[in-house]
Subunit: 347 residues, 2 copies
């Protein structure tokens, strides 16, 4: 019997298709409201996997909508009672459950101050959805595994639909239409290679996941999935930040997982791969770059042909399959992560 985690990985292409088809009108209406409002900057509030989706939005809205993006420090709103001024801001709360009080409070305060507020959530009746003026409902269906999968990729898609709607870019809207099939093909592609990659990682209690740009989010999400399901200390980094200090930890006991989708950062990724090989660190690549795939000890190939801004969907799916196989290789149950509940309420 497949685990809930595995079933929900498989459900992603269907969930993504549903959001594209049924969420379009909501995204368009929000896009128009944002264009009218002409925000000075974007503030995103999120925790856990949703915060990784927010990290994708930081690059997407930065590069494609030219909006400066701040990831909120929720405790300023809750513990310190000293929220920043938010007039002129677009404030977006991202939460699967829409329940976490700290995320809700950022959106509520934004609305109180006259910011334009949007909820991106999988529950259209949640406190978050009620707090925001506008609501993009993710329609992913109930997610039962504790580790988020389809709610993560539908959050990415919801945020991408908003970015496209704000920019009113027809070419990029067409690009979104290809995402469900890319995810479907990637899940099929990586199935054969993932168990071997997992066996390489399984003996180690730690690993580092490196990404950059749009796929910095993927590195963070891959590390979180591995922690939640395999209890391995998987630490995510931008390759640039890794070079500013943490590279000192690199040795044969620290496997590296490189998320190297698309071209712009390939030279930097090649350098990191060479340094891993030089010290004997096990190396796994999640990539659409043939030379990086061949140079790694194991490679999960994502469906080729996607523009860089759309690779985080396939790369996240590949990382989920890797986490599933690592969990199996370590003899654990992905549906019962110790110490976790599905909905975490933080203040």
């Amino acid at each position: 019997v497949a685990s809930l985690f595995e079933q929900e990985i498989q459900e992603q292409p269907g969930a993504l298709r549903r959001l594209l088809a049924e969420g379009e009108a909501e995204a368009e209406a929000i896009g128009q409201a944002v264009r009218r409002f002409a925000p000075r900057y974007l503030m995103l509030a999120a925790r856990g996997s949703s915060d990784n989706a927010a990290r994708y939005a930081q690059y997407l809205f930065g590069a494609e909508n030219r909006l400066a993006v701040a990831l909120a420090a929720p405790s300023l709103f809750t513990h310190y009672g000293a929220p920043p001024r938010l007039e002129g801001a677009l404030v977006v709360g991202v939460s699967q459950s829409g329940q976490s009080p700290d995320v809700v409070e950022v959106v509520r305060e934004g609305r109180r101050q006259g910011a334009l507020t949007v909820a991106v959530s999988n529950d259209r009746n949640s406190p978050l959805a009620q707090a925001a003026e506008h609501n993009l409902w993710l329609r992913a269906g109930a997610e039962q595994a504790v580790a988020a999968t389809k709610t993560y990729t539908t959050q990415l898609l919801g945020l991408a639909m908003l970015s496209v709607a704000v920019a009113a870019r027809e070419d990029r809207r067409r690009g979104l239409g290809a995402v469900p099939e890319q995810v479907e093909r990637t899940i099929a592609l990586v199935r054969a290679a993932a168990p071997g990659a997992a066996r390489l990682l399984a003996p180690h209690g730690r690993l580092a996941v490196l990404g950059r740009g749009y796929n910095l989010a993927t590195a963070f999400e891959a590390a979180l999935k591995v922690k939640e399901t395999s209890y391995v200390s998987a630490e995510p980094y931008s390759t640039a930040d890794f070079l500013h200090g943490p590279i000192a930890t690199l040795d044969r006991t620290l496997p590296l997982v490189l998320v190297a989708a698309s071209a712009p950062f390939a030279p930097e990724m090649r350098e990191l791969a060479a340094r891993a090989r030089a010290v004997g660190a096990p190396l796994v690549a999640i990539t659409d770059q043939a030379d990086l795939a061949h140079g790694a000890d194991a490679s999960l190939d994502i469906a080729p042909g996607a523009p860089e801004w759309l690779t985080p969907f396939s790369a996240a799916a590949a990382a989920q399959v890797l986490a599933l196989e690592l969990c199996r290789a370590r003899g654990l149950d992905p549906d019962a992560p110790r110490g976790l509940r599905k909905v975490t309420l933080t203040r």
Copy 2:
């Protein structure tokens, strides 16, 4: 013979006193310029330890100056050639060397777009200092150890002096005057306890450092010091983020270091301490809270009596001493971290 790392830890009270005395006029002038400019939000650009100082500024400028703070994604400015719009922003680059091209480029682009730009650097002739309209020179003296110490705490102080100058708050300015002595007393206080705490951590290849609010920065900086000097996979978290997934990794093989200075997050820290004890995870506290100190397996006590916003200075100094002792306990040389040079240039 003391290592350079140890010598520079000791030099901090002197460096902090020098910056307070000699940097005051610069900070005041910048404070006036910022009040005139009335920024919509603050964007900070930094890498490595400087990025941890920026994280402190996110809370400080948020709570005390009510400014929304964005930590820049430098690759938007360098690799994607698609910098966000920055009109109306205060853009601050923080860099010990003032050399890293990506940080320089964020400030340069800000100035090009008419943002108010400030460099916080230990080299007043650096490319960063030249790119910015205003310059706060840290005056920490040459830092020779690869792992930053006195440049980190003077960055915290420089940013705090700017926050105080922008707000024109005389009471908070007086508070700053107490920082050098608090750091001096903390270094003396923790000396006896640090070797025991280090012996507790030394057998493990990984650990987690948890902080919150103003001391989230300390958790990040403590983890970075440990990685740079002891090659241990030390991962920093906000306690709230730790509860949203990574707590699944907690067991007797994952030591926890709690940075729990001042009161507001003490209940959450107590809960985490209880969960660590329940699974047999070694527990080290860096704290000014007596009950947390007593409940831990080892405690580094920071000088009492500081208001919360000034505890990150002492807490960082305590974390540096812990990193030094952990490095010794693991038989390593803190001045020669493998794979690192003093100045890292990323793009």
